[in-house]
Amino acid sequence: MAMAETTPRAAAGQYFERASFTGSASEYFGIWIVNVLLTIVTLGIYSAWAKVRRMRYFYGNTVILDRAFEYHATGKQIFIGRLIVIAFLIVINISTAIFPPLGILTPIVILVALPWLIKRSLRFNARVTSYRNVRFDFVGTAGGAFVAILLGSFVAFISFGILAPLASRWTWRYLFNNLRYGDRPFSSDPQLSRLYGVWILPALIVFLGSIVFGFIAFVVIIGAATVMRESAELTSTQMTVLSIAGLYAGVFIYFILYGVAGLFYRAGVRNIAWSAAELDGRHQLVSDISRLRYAWIAISNVIVTVLTLGLMRPWAAVRMARYVNEHSGIRINGDPGEILSSIEATGAAISAEYMDMEGFDFGF
């Protein structure tokens, strides 16, 4: 049985193990379809409990060193978190309707509240996660979230993505350096030069893609214009329809280009940030996702999901989880059984958990 005490496989030195995913698409399909059905029937209320079942399934099937992760949040906690957010939005709506000048303040209030909400969300998600009966914790501050997430996104956006690696570095440092597993800290310091190393390919995809598609569009337009001049067969309506179709095709291609580039970038950055990360300053995390394979899985997942009207979504989710897990691992410095048995939970993560609300889930 998998739950038996891990036998020390290497008495000393380094011990490397990959994670795995033990769930199956057919098993998850049942959970997923019941989630969807009950969510609809209860007008969305069940979605909080649905989320818990989904998370428990994926965490509980993520196994490393023979042990699974666990997700401890309750449907009630998540439901209350969502209620608070909805109540907040209603209050804003009513107050601005009664006193319109408040409307100017609202975006400012949201901008100030956002880093705090991000921090709370990260902390909540860490604290409801455990491995071997010991919980994770997140000790990042709202100020840190502001720099790492908001300022980072802003910098990446206004530089047209050229400074994206800088933003990625801030984000991953914030995420890892504030993460705790019981009484042990994580740390990560991804090097900027390596981040730029994985930035080049996606940047080229966007750059060359734009040139190629721009050229194709140019040829098509010239060709169409020539045909148009020679034959008056096309009515103006058809012309208009064609040009609108052309516009949407153009925008669509840009979305695809950015989307594909984003997938390559995300996988590359994850590899670097994880591989630069350490637990307790001694045990190294490893991520060796193939960027091409990751992009292929993500893209084909979407295509299959759309073609089956969403019914293959469970299969797609399981397929992605399996790939990502199997390419994540940890290199333990010493005897894994001994080291993992010695970790104790710390006070904060145990006591404060139930007062935390989820608010938003940013999906890190």
């Binding site: 769930g23 010991v134 995300r266």
Partner: protein
């Protein structure tokens, strides 16, 4: 919840390895510790006990023991009041015990989720429900959202869009001052008769660049008119005003806000229902879909056409002037094939006819409405 009752579990070096039936095999963690000890869970009289060979690790009355509900075949947690945890992958063992203890109703959700022909029925139910939500619930939600939208939202969208268009595509207008003045005056006459009155609208002249001959409305009441459209009109100011009347109607009817909410609503529903639509390409797909949903619907166009006729008539202009615009647009497009790219207003002969019919219909009625 974690009530902390310290040390209720008792280390008994050599108690009898008692008789109670074993419920499941697994391992036991002391409270807050990653240490794992192979153990069994069993019933000992009225107590639920986690025990190592011959040694009780934790025990409590079943009412104070929390057993996590079953999800697929992930490990189950049996939490004792002292914070210690017995963990096992033997889901069947735990379920058998729970059914005997708490009756057939325990684990209902899990039994629904099991792979079984029943899932086909559920799938069909989900498809039917989803289709009817899209057909009936989304339109209602959109109306509610439009109703409760505070005024700063359309203003934010409007000023933001105009600013970014100015930075990218649009350039300052090169029309002569007199021309602009004349159009603005006519526009004011139209706006006076609209719902929000003259103050609710602002007309901006811009060189549209690649947009070509076009006019469009932002949700905050900003109307943008491109130089090319004025040139296309070739001095026919009434025709331009007809187009502006159409755009005023889009603002009046909050058409763009509605489209935005419809797109957002569909995306939100998909996320709420499907739960983990997740990341990356999925985002792009949602946004792409939203973008397609952004062009005005046919019904909105027809409504705006009719409203243009009403406004033009009220202001004392030719009510059917908008129809002339479609004629010109059609000729122009047919000639050169440089269709305005952002145009979401394909001018069909049908629309021209509808406009003329409606104008004639209003003419036939007494003046007072």
């Amino acid at each position: 919840m974690l009530q902390s009752v310290p040390n209720t579990w008792i280390w008994k070096g050599s108690t009898l390895a008692s008789d109670g039936a074993v419920i499941a095999k697994g391992e036991w963690h002391p409270a807050n510790s990653s240490r794992a000890i192979p153990a069994v869970l069993r019933e000992d009289g009225s107590l639920l006990v986690a025990a190592e060979e011959g040694r009780v690790l934790a025990s409590a009355v079943p009412e104070r023991v929390e057993v996590s509900s079953r999800v697929g075949s992930i490990p189950r947690r049996v939490s004792f009041p002292d914070g210690s945890v017995f963990e096992t992958r033997d889901n069947e063992g735990i379920d058998t015990y729970l059914r005997a203890k708490r009756g057939a109703r325990s684990g209902l959700i899990h039994r629904l989720e099991r792979f079984h022909p029943r899932l086909i029925v559920m799938t069909i139910a989900v498809i039917l429900l989803a289709a009817s939500i899209y057909r009936y619930a989304v339109p209602v939600l959109v109306e509610v959202a439009v109703l409760v939208t505070p005024p700063f939202v359309p203003e934010l969208i409007g000023s933001g869009t105009l600013a970014s268009l100015d930075r990218t595509i649009l350039k300052p207008s090169e029309l002569p001052e007199g021309e602009r003045q004349a159009i603005s005056e006519g526009f004011s006459k139209l706006a006076v008769h609209s719902k929000g009155g003259q103050k609710a609208y602002r007309l901006y002249f811009r060189d549209g660049g690649v947009i070509g001959p076009n006019a469009f409305a932002l949700p905050d009441g900003s109307l943008i008119l491109t130089d090319d459209l004025v040139k296309l009109a070739n001095g026919d100011r009434e025709m331009i005003l007809g187009v502006l009347g159409h755009e005023i109607a889009h603002v009046e009817g909050k058409h763009s806000l509605r489209q935005l909410y419809r797109a957002a609503g569909v995306a939100a529903l998909v996320m709420l229902i499907a739960g983990d639509v997740g990341s990356g390409v999925e985002d792009i797909l949602t946004q792409g879909g939203a973008l397609v949903a952004l062009s005005y619907s046919r019904a909105a166009e027809a409504e705006a056409d009719r409203r243009s006729v009403e406004l033009m008539r009220a202001a004392g202009y030719d009510p059917a002037a908008l129809a002339r615009f479609f004629v010109v647009l059609e000729e122009k497009l047919g000639d050169h094939g440089d269709a305005s790219i952002l145009s979401s207003h394909p001018g069909t002969p049908q629309r021209q006819q509808d406009i003329r019919n409606y104008a004639a219909e209003l003419e036939g009625r007494p003046q007072a409405r």
